[in-house]
């Protein structure tokens, strides 16, 4: 691709223009949103001079801060549990080729990834009411773990697929126990995958609206669901401020995950 033999110059020029238009399309709406969050006007869409007032109002909003706290609790617990279970699942699928139920498990592991959010939300809501589990923070956490396990497992699995199993065999030939082999050889090698999966789980948990909205109980909601409710009622500049903070949080997560990836590449 370096020689450019494949694409004539005029095609490349058209592609470049298209490329920058797409980037503009992807970024302009976000930038407008961020700009308006600093507007002093209380009408969304009218610039009223630079101001931090919406951020101040946001931090003073008790209900919003409660939902933020809930979001963090849900995200942390579901990420930790899903990372442990998902990593074991990834190892089970990639490192052990023959065991009872492997194919069923493989299919079951992929379904939560491709199923639409709405359907998963309905499924869980019906299930929780069937088994008489009271809706609340716990059902939100259970649901988030349910969809996060698969994402972690897939990321860990693809990492394992690139690893040479002979490294682990060598460790065991040198009299390392299975646990020691795992701790000292396998885990450090798949760590970028595990952390990448965990970050994905964290992001998905912090972003989820649809599933949480249906399985939440009275009085316990997460930040995105709270904001979703605000947006549906009426648009206020305070939402712009919250949105900007959420965008910055996602961006930080992107860079952290890229950092892990780069570290992973150095290992190889």
């Amino acid at each position: 691709m370096t020689e450019g033999t494949a694409t004539p110059r005029w095609v490349d020029r058209v592609l470049t223009i298209n490329g920058w238009i797409v980037f503009l399309f992807l970024y302009l709406p976000i930038l407008v949103l961020v700009a308006y969050s600093f507007s002093g006007s209380s009408t969304v869409g009218i610039w009223g001079g630079f101001s931090f007032q919406w951020y101040r109002q946001m931090f003073g909003n008790e209900a919003l801060m409660d939902s933020l706290r809930n979001s963090l609790v849900v995200a942390l617990i579901s990420t930790v549990v899903a990372t442990v279970l998902g990593t074991a699942a990834g190892i089970a699928i990639d490192r052990y080729r023959r065991w009872l139920g492997r194919r069923t498990f493989d299919a079951l592991l992929y379904l939560p990834v491709i199923i639409p959010d709405v359907t998963m939300a309905i499924m869980l809501l019906l299930w929780f009411t069937t088994i008489n589990l009271a809706l609340g923070l716990s059902t939100i956490i259970i649901s988030h773990i349910a969809f996060n396990i698969s994402f972690v497992a897939i990321v860990v699995r693809s990492r394992l697929a690139h690893l040479d199993p002979s490294l682990e065999e060598a460790a065991m030939d040198l009299y390392a126990s299975r646990w020691k082999t795992f701790r000292r050889v396998t885990l450090p090698l798949i760590m970028p995958g595990v952390l990448g999966g965990a970050l994905l789980a964290l992001t998905l948990s912090l972003d989820d609206v649809v599933i949480t909205q249906l399985v939440q109980g009275p009085g316990a909601t997460t930040l995105p669901v709270f904001v979703f409710g605000l947006i549906k009622r009426s648009v206020t500049p305070e939402i712009n401020a919250v949105s900007t903070v959420m965008l910055i949080a996602s961006m930080v997560l992107v860079f952290v995950s890229l950092g892990f990836q780069r570290r992973g590449e150095r290992y190889d």
């Binding site: 691709m1 020689e3 450019g4 494949a6 694409t7 004539p8 095609v11 592609l15 470049t16 298209n18 490329g19 399309f25 992807l26 709406p29 976000i30 407008v32 949103l33 009408t43 969304v44 869409g45 009218i46 699942a89 089970a92 052990y96 065991w99 139920g101 079951l108 592991l109 491709i114 199923i115 639409p116 959010d117 709405v118 359907t119 309905i122 499924m123 019906l126 299930w127 009411t129 773990i145 349910a146 396990i149 065991m172 390392a176 126990s177 299975r178 020691k180 609206v209 649809v210 909205q213 249906l214 979703f228 947006i231 549906k232 648009v235 712009n240 949105s243 965008l247 996602s250 961006m251």
Partner: protein, 301 residues
């Protein structure tokens, strides 16, 4: 300890078939136990809920909308053929299809451009620029369009000034824009992955054998990037079909899609069996789409 119970059977593995079988059995148990916790979890909080949706879709309905398991009926499925429902289903299907096609039409040249930048560092930088919207909160990204399309929003004002369009918010085009904006990155990433790891010397070989630029693309690049095309299409089509947040924020009464229609059945409309039946239909479509994916995916390999 481990020295004693691990080592001998590894060494004599090949020599003694009895021990070999034993080791194999131990190995398969180990695999099973690694999977066990998540297996149980997913059966309990995924597989069984899936079964429940199927069961409820055939159940009767109490006054509160929740299912009654005393009488069984096909009412929910019969209701699927109401004109209102068919209209919503048709709208969802066309929107999802159109979105997939347009995402592909915009995303393919875009991914091609990203993948053909000659410097690795340029490619990495551009990739990060794609990853940021991909990872950013979907709700927030949809909300951004709410502002742009609002009555005082920039896009509305441009439309009014030029006389080209009026207020778009709560209309079909607004929902479509939201879907396109929301899912475009999901198309670009798999396409980029497919094109980036492609062996471009094949294209050069084709050109050396007097293929035209277009011919080389049609016969070499496009077939080789097919897995990316299929993966991207699935990643856009399925969530577009079940879209909930986008129509809820950017749409109005006349733009209901299957996703928000289902949720309504569980909230204000109070008809759980019917909501479940619609979900079963979506699940079936999704399953067919995925099977097609794995079939064609296998053929291209």
């Amino acid at each position: 300890m481990t020295l004693l119970d691990d080592k001998p059977d590894r060494d004599t593995e090949a020599a003694n078939p009895e021990l070999e079988r034993k080791a194999e059995r131990a190995e398969s148990w180990r695999g099973f136990f690694h999977a066990l916790p998540s297996f149980v979890y997913l059966i309990f909080f995924f597989a069984l809920p899936l079964v429940i949706v199927l069961v409820v879709s055939f159940s009767g309905r109490k006054g509160t909308g929740s299912p009654s398991f005393d009488d069984w009926t096909l009412d929910a499925y019969r209701k699927l053929f109401d004109t209102t429902v068919l209209r919503i289903a048709w709208r969802s299907l066309t929107m999802a299809t159109l979105n997939t096609v347009i995402c592909l039409a915009i995303g393919y040249p875009f991914a091609y451009w990203l993948a053909t930048r000659s410097k690795q560092s340029t490619r990495n930088l551009l990739l990060v620029l794609v990853l940021i919207p991909f990872w950013s909160n979907f709700l927030v990204r949809t909300y951004a369009w709410r502002i742009l399309l609002d009555s005082d929003g920039p896009i509305t004002r441009i439309g009014e000034a030029t006389g080209l369009w009026g207020k778009l918010l709560f209309t079909q085009p607004a929902v479509f824009l939201g879907l396109l904006y929301g899912y475009l990155p999901f198309m670009v990433l798999p396409l980029y992955a497919a094109l980036e790891r492609m062996d471009w010397s094949l294209v050069e070989a084709g050109r050396d054998l007097y293929a035209t630029g277009w011919g080389a693309f049609r016969r070499i690049t496009w077939p080789l990037s097919r897995p990316g095309v299929i993966a991207g299409s699935i990643l856009v089509f399925i969530p577009s079909l079940g879209a909930y947040v986008t129509p809820a924020i950017l749409g109005g009464a006349k733009t209901t899609l299957l996703g928000d229609y289902i949720v309504t059945q569980f909230t204000s409309a109070r008809n759980w069996p019917f909501g479940s039946a619609v979900s079963v239909v979506i699940l079936t479509v999704m399953l067919i789409a995925t099977l097609v994916y794995f079939r064609t995916g296998a053929r291209t390999l």
